[in-house]
């Protein structure tokens, strides 16, 4: 199979028109020694049925588990309308809206996406998405550095997702900005006293995540105050579902907010594609990475949308661009937009509230009925918390998996944190009382 439509007659006619006698001649610029003479060592072609069967077998080699895992990635329900709409060819077979006159569907949906992200974050501007939460945080740190040209240092709380810190370290390999890590309290949140000591007049940005990696809600307002008192920017890493209940980063004083957008109805899909959310105060719009859509008018005075402020971007500014990002996560941002429209103002709050109620119910029962203790008993949380485990939680998780239950995420798999063992457990509106019973059966055996 190939998707090449030419008949032999077509091919001959096209070769003739091109003034060559064979396809070989079209490759004359490639030195002969580099031309492949043997076919590639690839499998033979499969029919469509054989392909579907092959993929079906691969799919069956993985297990479907009842999901209590989080760590930045949550098993929320996706309304049927979301996938129905993103499967429209008009959306998924288009590309970046370079020709605005024939891309208004994509452009308008991005404008709506940006507007919704501004609502969630309480900030003025949002871009059309980043690759994921981790790279969004890294780009936010680089953006803060470029805004605060005479300042170098990034101060990051140790309670942020350790994978995000790893990605920041990678993005920072070239620039080599000094990164200092603010420790946490015994209560599982950023130690604000110590944070204050670390932030100085060389600090370009302070980064705190809330709810943090352990699920604990941080005092973003206090952290923002510490950053601003020293003249630094404040970057909040947030969770879009929790924002239906929690004070927005904008209201807390954040200059930039980033998040993993996956909780907004994006399938788990083994971790990707997901999307990074990125919003900032209006003053910083010209320093932002990524695509931004703006409203304008056509020659007849009708409302329309275009890619705007493109002089920030790599195809115009080249080495002076704010980032190298171009293609982002367009279709996933569309899915998140449709999700937010479908659940709406009341629905997103209900998703967050049901998740929180189930999580707190489960917390109380775990404390009462199992030998496991919470890692941070005083930390307020929304839908995720950490438990102490006797030894590596990975064994417990393997046992649970044998019974069809993904009992959480083992802390031992993460670098850069100061907790050796433990289990992160997360709940969504999909988890019922019966599901919690099943989880407890696994945890009781720990």
């Amino acid at each position: 199979m190939s998707y090449v439509p030419h008949s032999d007659a077509d091919r001959q006619e096209m070769l003739r028109a091109a003034g060559v006698s064979s396809e070989e001649e079209l490759f004359a610029d490639i030195p002969d020694k580099f031309r492949l003479r043997e076919p590639l060592d690839l499998p033979s072609a499969l029919s469509e049925w054989e392909t579907v069967r092959t993929l079906g077998r691969l799919a069956n080699e993985s297990k479907h588990l009842l999901c209590f895992a989080g760590a930045g990635y949550y098993d929320h329900h996706t309304p049927a309308a979301v996938d129905h709409l993103i499967r429209r060819s008009e959306f998924y077979t288009a590309y970046t809206p370079y020709q605005a006159e024939v891309s208004q569907g994509t452009l308008q949906s991005i404008y709506e996406f940006q507007s919704m992200i501004c609502e969630l974050t309480g900030l003025d501007v949002a871009n059309a998405s980043m690759y994921d939460g981790a790279s969004a945080m890294a780009e936010a740190a680089l953006m803060a550095d470029s805004i605060q040209r005479d300042r170098q240092k990034i101060v990051l709380s140790i309670t942020a997702n350790p994978h995000y810190r790893q990605v920041l370290d990678t993005y920072n390999l070239g620039l080599q900005l000094p990164v200092e890590i603010a420790p946490r309290t015994d209560g599982g949140v950023t130690d604000l006293e110590r944070l204050k000591e670390l932030v100085d007049d060389d600090t370009s940005a302070v980064i705190v995540q809330s709810p943090n990696f352990y699920g604990a809600i941080e005092d973003l307002e206090a952290a923002a105050g510490i950053a601003h008192d020293a003249g630094a920017l404040f970057i909040a890493v947030v969770d879009p579902v929790s924002l239906a209940l929690l004070k927005s980063p904008g209201a807390c004083g954040a200059d930039i907010a980033v998040a993993e957008g996956q909780p907004l109805g994006i399938p788990l899909s083994y971790g990707g594609p997901v999307l990074g959310l990125f919003a900032a105060r209006g003053d910083y719009i010209r320093s932002m990475p990524g695509r931004i859509v703006g409203q304008t008018e056509d020659v007849d005075g009708r409302r329309g949308f275009v890619l705007t402020l493109q002089t920030r971007e790599q195809h115009i500014r080249r080495e002076k661009a704010t980032s190298n990002i171009c293609t982002n996560q367009g279709l996933i941002a569309l899915a998140a937009t449709i999700y937010m429209a479908t659940v709406g103002k009341g629905g997103l709050r209900q998703v967050a509230e049901t998740s929180a109620q189930v999580a707190h119910y489960a917390y109380d029962r775990i404390v009462a009925e199992t030998d496991l203790e919470p890692l941070f008993p005083d930390a307020p949380f929304v839908r995720e918390f950490a438990l102490q485990t006797p030894g590596d939680a990975r064994q417990l998780i393997e046992k649970g998996a044998d019974r069809g239950i993904l009992a959480g995420v083992a802390l031992s798999r993460f670098p850069h944190i100061d907790v050796d063992d433990g289990l992160l457990v997360a709940f969504t509106e999909k988890r019922s009382k019966d599901d919690v019973d099943l989880l407890l059966e696994v945890l009781k055996e720990a």
Partner: protein
Amino acid sequence: MKEKNPKRTDSPLIFERSRPGRRGTAVPEPDVPTRPLEELLPKAMMRKEPPSLPEVSENEVVRHFTEISLMNHHVDRGFYPLGSCTMKYNPKVNEQTARLPGLADLHPFQPTSAVQGALRLMWELGEMLKEIVGMDEITLQPAAGAQGELVGALLFRAYHTAQGDPRKKIIIPDSAHGTNPATVRMAGYEVVTLKSNEEGRMDPGALESALGEDVAGVMLTNPNTLGKFESDVEEIARLVHEAGGLMYMDGANLNALIGVARPGDLGYDIVHLNLHKTFSTPHGGGGPGAGPVAVKEHLAPYLPLPILTRAGDGGYALDWERPESIGKVHGFWGNFGVLVRAYTYIRMLGRDGMRRTGMAAVLNNAYMSARLEGTYSLPYGRGMHESVFSGSFLKEHGVRTLDVAKRLLDFGVHAPTVYFPLIVPEAIMAEPTETETKDELDRFCEAMLQIAEEAKADPEFVKNAPYSTPVRRLDEALANRRPNVRYRPEGSD
């Protein structure tokens, strides 16, 4: 006055359809005993009003997004010759396999014992991609071509640092994509831009004088952005390697080489692939893509964490013990759903289908170029899978390439990439891909030729195009001058 077409022609924003109290879906209420939220969460940190998201019914959501979708041009509707973007047909079976339960519903932190199918798919895809590009090791983690480039440039840094000096500069040709210089800067290197020769290629002599101990290497797209094969690549690679540098290939244009020649054989040390171009995964209105990076053995220790490995028992695992790795670039393992689609594509085509792909992509471009070159000039000649024409000949009529692009939209065709690469004045960069029929190419060429005639006979007519699109020419300057990048609903903070 009677209105012939009384249909509403503009589409309200989803926010403008909102009415307080409407619901689009029912969310489960908790079936567990509940407590007031104020007891669960600290009051000072709670939000008083939920975010002002739209309040609309499901029917309205579906109508809204269906209605605005109809304003998009897309591959399933018509020709999309956007140069350097490889807008080939997106096979429908890819969409089916990517949604199989067992692939689409895996949590990224499931234990590896419970995701063996996903890992096997990634392993086999990696093996096939390595064979296609002639490299030794691969990472599938980068989420897009530009992130793959960043990985590549950071591999330069890691490799040279291990040799004792990260070096300072990376050389790119003046025809390079904007992502190349932007990436070089992000990786902490200085950009050295090398002028292309009169054939539009990198000149080994000019390169030799630019090379030195402070040069980390060269980023060289091949075929380059003019569609020209860098026929001196062997000599270029020799010079770079002799100077201790590395050779990076931007794989944006790999479609021309599939089954014909392999970057690894050409002397490259690193190549990134765009699965959303070469391997038929959909472009999604601007992503998600995937940008795997394949390397020669000497760069394998530096690849991003974790590396997928195969255990003795035939099982698959994620290896985190790679002390020389550049680290992670994605929060998880990359755009897995995109990998499933690319895997599906390669299995469908198999070895013979892959070979026909590169051949047909080049044949289609040769035919299209032959039909147009009498009218639109080709300053650097025909390319392989794409050609870069110039619209300069229309300047005497006051018509620019931008006008040609806009007029094409009236023919139901997406415009080629315009004003890139920068070394061709009034550039029109057209890439037909292998999945278009001769008839479709004929229709496009006839449209291009007709527009050239229109431009000569009635320049104003072309300069005012398009006429038949959902909106007409849009005022970009206004959007820049007074940025309006969000709607403010009532009750918004």
